[in-house]
């Protein structure tokens, strides 16, 4: 119940801070781009937009949210109440994933109509979004200013975006399979081609494992740096 109440307020807060307006406009721009291209260019652009924008949307915003709440001492106020770290993280993750998922589905619908394997696509979009939000939380609690958060975030994004070179076809390697983002791109490819059974299961398992790992790290670091305030921060 506490978690639901937090979630409601997080969504209202994000709405007031114009996240939804911003994405309404951004999606309109993407709409006009996607509907004006066709063929391989469209496939490439759609996957690229899904991968580089809508999926990492939460990653981008969560840092600012946590830094602002820390600056305004909202975190202190929240954690003197019975709210648990897990509930707080749940609320942040779900609220941003809602926005990310709506945006991803919109892009997919605009580009290809209702996907045949809608569930698989949704699983890819949601699990990738949550993974990036957990990563964002883990980075945010160790960053002092927004600019520092961005620096750390850019370093991480660069590492995780490596599999895009495989998708574009510049360089192929089996090693990319270990990246969570490789699974993301594979699951998004369901929009443009048939996936093998192995691809489906391997991608889902990979994303699930990365999610569990990152959630563990995010929760541990959040507790250490924001609640106990240990270490340099």
């Amino acid at each position: 119940m506490r978690a639901i109440s937090l979630l409601k307020h997080d969504i209202i807060f994000q709405f007031r801070h114009r996240f939804y307006y911003a994405y309404f406009f951004i999606l309109a721009v993407y709409y006009s781009i996607i509907t004006n291209v066709s063929g391989v260019a469209k496939d490439f652009l759609t996957i690229f937009i899904l991968f580089s924008d809508t999926t990492v949307l939460g990653f981008f915003f969560v840092g600012g949210l946590i830094l602002l709440e820390r600056d305004q001492n909202t975190l202190q106020s929240i954690f003197v109440t019975p709210v648990k770290v897990g509930e707080y993280l749940f609320s942040k993750t779900v609220s941003l994933t809602v926005l990310s998922y709506i945006a991803s589905v919109f892009i997919a619908l605009v580009a290809y109509g209702f996907p045949d394997q809608f569930l698989l696509f949704s699983a890819g979009a949601i699990l990738s979004s949550t993974f990036f939000i957990f990563t964002g939380i883990a980075i945010a609690v160790r960053s002092k200013t927004v600019n520092k958060y961005f620096f750390n975030a850019i370093v991480f994004t660069m590492i995780f975006f490596v599999p895009i070179v495989d998708f574009v076809g510049i360089f192929k390697s089996r090693l990319f399979v270990v990246f969570p983002t490789y699974a993301t791109v594979t699951l998004f490819s369901v929009l443009i081609r048939e996936l093998t059974f192995f691809e489906k299961t391997a991608s889902l398992i990979s994303l699930l494992l990365w999610n569990c790992g990152m959630f563990f790290v995010a929760k541990k670091w959040f507790y250490r740096f924001e609640i106990l305030k240990n270490g340099k921060n």
Partner: protein, 244 residues
Amino acid sequence: MKKLMKFTVADLRNIVRDPMQTMTAVAPLIIIVVIRIFLSVAREQVIQFFDYDIISDYPMIISFFSLLIPMMVGLVIGFIILDERDESMINYYAVTPLTKKGYLVFRMTVPIVFTFLVSVVFYLSLYDIYAVDLLKLLIVSSLLALQAPVFSFLMASFASNKVEGLAIGKLLGMMIVPPIANYFLVSNWSLLFFIVPQTWVSAIITGKNIGFLNLPMIVSLSLFIHVAIIIFCIKTFMKKVDGS
């Protein structure tokens, strides 16, 4: 002058301490390397997939990458201003000999000078791929330099804190779409794209949809758009700072 120097030294120290600012300072170099790799890889890939040679589009691609310089500088400065306002630092500056006006001038001149110099270096270092003429280089670099404060003050004036800054920063990122659209679309409607400052830079380099204007007109119109946005934003910003 002396107080501005002191401020500059303090800022330089901050730049060294803050990895994001250090990265912004070296990022243009990274962009130059990336663009060289990108152009060679992209050309092969596009020929292979689409049977089309992008060599004639190089000016557009290069101008596109140059737009990223003021964008990065502007966003970083924008977040510094938002951080300083969230922490009420601006009110502290206002009571020092620097004054609020001095603070604004400072937050504007450094990015302008930096972006101008970097843009010149950027175009000159890609001279073997795209030979820009000197007059164009000066105009384009000046416009790019003005775009840095356009970004930072659009952000600072519309966002009431850093979270809104993120949402608005995301929106401002979309400002690189009109120059590309202007390049590919030929219609009377594309004149609308020229409300966005970025379109001018790429149009001056590529000459798209701008042929009916002569050079003095292009310079004055583009300067007008840039300066008008900056003045409007500063007015809004001052109101917000005074109000808080």
